[in-house]
Assembly symmetry: C2
Homo-oligomer: 145 residues x 2
DNA sequence: GTAGGGATACTCGGATAATGGGTGTCCGAGTTGACAAGG
DNA sequence: CCTTGTCAACTCGGACACCCATTATCCGAGTATCCCTAC
């Protein structure tokens, strides 16, 4: 069991969105450039984030993606759920007659402990902690556009 | 990201071991019968559990597997680690210049919260909670052997 | 009676598919803004 | 000056291919116990 690479990309991408001045839009190419990955693949991830309601897209020239949510509210858990889905990590397929599986019960509780933590941690904390992120975004904003 | 089915099998299997009277041995066929899965595949899982040091195997007729560890000490986490490995769930492959990835830091901390809980929960708790498990093992023990 | 040799019932491990999800690319379609040509 | 058409830059979505881990099966090898036969 491992987190998918897409989740990693999504978290980094959302970091940049939080670091971006509020209301500004940024394109796929620039986001891909920052993370050194292919724009086409990143766009797949972005559509998932759009469907989750965290960002929205504006087509056409000078289009791009904008953060729709309040920066302070954006938690790690929301981003992860947007990519990995909200399904439980563990599901017992065995019969188990009438009552549910006790093992599954323990596993989901453990998972909830992890999610509880990820729900508390907000992306904006890391941006405050590491100013170089907003620096990267702003430099790119003035040069390429 | 999901837990593998093998982990589910391993947890159920270890449950039966804990429910079994101390020192007794049980074969792959009987364990497979209890969980309705193929013996050959289950044996692959059992070898992992053997390498992890939780059970040991005795070849030959009347052979089988025996629990080597103290029942009370067997935690969920140990079984999971035996199957899934102890590697971290999240690893950031991006460059990040000098210092480490802050996102990775948060993710591993979250993971530790989950593991902390899984380390506390012992398999024997569930056996005490659900007596039918030991019943299943004992019935099988007298009939087929 | 005792020793030796199958037969049997197990585990062990490698080789080998089949399947599915993650990862990544390509291409056509739709949308918007800028610009230029024509009335 | 206004309208209209064209072009460029961008997002969107489907289709497709590739790789790899999981899942699963098959088979031969090793091993211990039991039993039967031969001496």
């Amino acid at each position: 069991m491992k987190y998918s690479q897409a989740t990693n990309y999504a978290l980094h991408t959302m970091m940049f969105f939080v670091a971006l001045p509020t209301g500004k839009t940024i394109g796929v190419q620039q986001l891909a450039e920052l993370q050194k990955l292919s724009p086409t693949y990143l766009s797949k991830i972005l559509t998932k984030l759009v469907k989750a309601g965290m960002i929205e897209s504006s087509p056409g020239i000078n289009g791009g993606y904008t953060l729709t949510r309040n920066k302070a509210d954006l938690s790690f858990l929301e981003v992860i759920h947007a990519i990995e889905g909200t399904a439980s990590l563990f599901h017992c397929g065995v019969g188990h007659a009438q009552q549910g599986c006790l093992i599954e019960e323990v596993m989901t509780t453990a998972e909830q402990h992890m999610e509880e933590y990820l729900k508390e941690r907000k992306l904006v904390e890391l941006v405050d902690q590491n100013p170089s992120v907003s620096h990267m975004v702003n430099v790119l904003d003035t040069s390429a556009r």
